[in-house]
């Protein structure tokens, strides 16, 4: 029987805690924080690692990102990926979710073999949660989003709990795609040995030309992106009253305002 092959899609994203925003120009200073694995994609990698422990096989991590994202893919290797592919090319730049998902799906087609694709729930910079289901559509495979538990795995199907407000137990036939929430597992930290292995593993770099035989290159990047940001600004918090109550009668004062605001009747 053939080896079970899991593809994990990993977005190199800035650490939101550290990244600086230019309030005047309404842009993100991307040099202010190094790239790291999007936090939800750590759960995706861990899910893949746990499935591999059961079924054996191979894990491939794929990212579409600038060349500076290479260390992020090394980290993916340290966390369980056997192989890592960085899709990087000026022609991929400026991609919205449609172009991103098309590019990632094209790379998966190029790989040729896969049984399961795992994505994070969403990214901390894009916040869209769209790329996963769009990849599934491009590849014509079923998907289950918001997976919060993996109940059972075999080479043919997956039994998962999907958190759709109410949890649903779902069966997914493979090949298929899931997007996972942070509740699906607790990602392990890589050991020193894992890190050493990662250091020795070469990251494969693919460009638009490498995908030309399986894809329409016009659908990559800016030219393949129907949505455009026409304006962006750093969020300014709504003006709040900011009244602080202190001392003995603070609680009484709070009750008073809650009455005045119509909360207490």
């Amino acid at each position: 029987m053939k080896d079970f092959h899991v593809v994990v899609l990993i977005k190199p994203s800035p650490d939101i805690e550290k990244v600086k925003f230019d309030t005047v120009r309404g842009v993100v200073d991307r040099s202010s924080a190094p790239l790291e694995i999007n936090p939800f994609d750590l759960n995706a990698l861990e899910a893949a690692a746990q499935i591999k422990e059961k079924l054996g096989g191979e894990i491939t991590a794929i990212s579409m990102a600038p060349p500076m994202a290479e260390p992020v893919l090394k980290d993916a290797i340290a966390r369980g990926a056997d192989r890592a592919i960085l899709l990087t090319d000026k022609r991929f730049a400026g991609a919205d979710t449609l172009a991103t998902s098309y590019t990632l799906a094209s790379a998966i087609k190029k790989l040729g073999k896969f049984d399961l694709i795992i994505c994070g729930e969403k990214t901390v910079d894009g916040d869209t949660a769209q790329v996963g289901p769009e990849v599934a559509e491009h590849l014509g495979i079923p998907h289950v989003a918001y997976v919060s538990r993996i109940e059972g795995v075999s080479k043919e199907r997956l039994l998962v709990v999907s958190d759709m407000g109410v949890p649903y137990l779902m069966e997914l036939r493979l090949p298929g795609l899931i997007t996972v929430t942070k509740d699906v597992n607790k990602p392990r930290l890589p050991t020193l040995r894992d890190k050493l292995k990662a250091r020795k593993t070469k990251i494969e770099v693919w460009t638009a030309d490498d995908l030309a035989d399986v894809a329409d290159v016009n659908r990559f990047g800016f030219s393949g992106s129907p949505t455009r940001v026409v304006k962006a600004f750093v969020l300014t918090e709504k003006k709040r009253k900011g009244v602080i109550f202190k001392g003995e009668d603070a609680v009484d004062k709070l009750i008073e305002v809650l009455e005045r605001e119509g909360i207490l009747r």
Binding site: E17, E121, E134, V230, K231, L235, K241, A250, E261
Partner: protein
């Protein structure tokens, strides 16, 4: 491109009930359509929902496309997508609005990818520019950035956050057509619901009053005092992520970027620092009250009212006074 006309609202149903977001979207669609002088359509996929379809007209639709089939009763992402794609190809709406619920956010990207059109996620406002083009307003970067987005392909597809728009008054005199459409069923879609898990979940995004606890709590049992306070106020208990990750409380209570987005009348944050990821879930609450021992906690930057102090002193006092107040005792 100009052959694309009208606004199509996807009506989400679960167990035969229409999700309130569908009515909110109809309200906004009506407003945009009146400016653009076009029609509002709604689409409902389900089983034996003809009576319910009338509601969509009462709330603002001019025409409802009804897809009625036993296999559409439960959410089936492939068959829902297939019939939505068929409808959009036939009717060519200029704008398609879908609720940014988990169902909507799982379905919309498949439709958009199939149609090769743009999709904007989780919008908090929709505007028209001077040319009548849709501007989609959405947060990005964990809520730190607000972006205005335009789409060059048709239809323009958008998922919209729950509770940002108001539904119109239900108007029983409104007239409209219910058009039954032929259902296409894809056999063997490869994914199926085994069962709905029978666990109690709080619907925190519908709550008017939320009393939330964070890492300022010392042990799981202490959530009981928040529960008591929430009961007195007629609200529900929320939590920051660490309490959920520690297993103190279930995920349906979690507020924030990786939990639920809430907009209650009152959000009372107890022992919560106010991280960007937490604010992303509650910053649009009507009134925010914070109780925190640290006067420099960022939560105070977004609070209308705050008490600097130990929650273990303040909350029992608050509970006692609220009880007395109920009994009609002063002081």
């Amino acid at each position: 491109m100009s052959e694309y006309k009208g606004i199509l609202v996807f009506s989400e149903q679960r167990d035969g009930d229409i999700h309130p977001i569908s009515f909110e979207l109809l309200g906004k669609a009506r407003e945009i359509a009146d400016k653009k002088k076009c029609e509002v359509y709604s689409v409902l996929l389900g089983y034996q929902m003809r009576e319910k379809a009338k509601e969509l007209i009462y709330f603002g639709a001019d025409k409802v496309f009804l897809y009625d089939h036993p296999l559409l009763k439960e959410f089936d992402v492939i068959n829902y997508k297939q019939n939505m794609v068929n409808l959009i190809r036939e009717e060519k709406p200029e704008i398609v609005l879908i609720g940014a619920t988990p169902l909507g956010r799982s379905l919309a990207p498949r439709i958009a990818a199939a149609l090769k059109t743009g999709l904007t996620a989780d919008c908090i406002d929709l505007q028209l520019d001077e040319n009548g083009e849709l501007i989609q307003v959405r947060p990005a970067f964990t809520g730190n950035l607000i972006a205005h987005i335009k789409t060059s392909t048709r239809p323009v597809m958008t998922t919209v956050r729950y509770k940002v728009f108001k539904a119109r008054e239900r108007d029983l005199t409104r007239k409209g057509d219910i058009v039954e459409k032929e259902v296409e069923i894809v056999e063997d879609v490869g994914v199926r619901v085994v069962r709905k898990e029978s666990v109690e979940v709080v619907n925190i995004s519908d709550a008017e009053i939320i009393v939330s606890g964070g890492r300022g709590l010392k042990k799981p049992e202490d959530l009981k005092i928040l529960e008591e306070l929430a009961n007195l106020l007629g609200g529900v208990v929320g939590a920051s992520r660490p309490l959920v990750d520690e297993g103190w409380i279930s995920k349906d209570h979690q507020v924030g970027f990786s939990g639920n987005i809430v907009r209650p009348k009152l959000y009372l944050a107890c022992g919560i620092s106010g991280s960007p990821q937490h604010l992303a879930g509650m910053r649009d609450s009507e009134i925010i009250v914070a109780i925190n021992i640290d006067p420099s906690a960022p939560i105070f930057n977004v609070a209308d009212y705050g008490i600097v102090g130990d929650l273990y002193e303040i909350i029992p006092k608050l509970i006692e006074k609220l009880k007395n107040r109920k009994r009609g005792v002063k002081g």
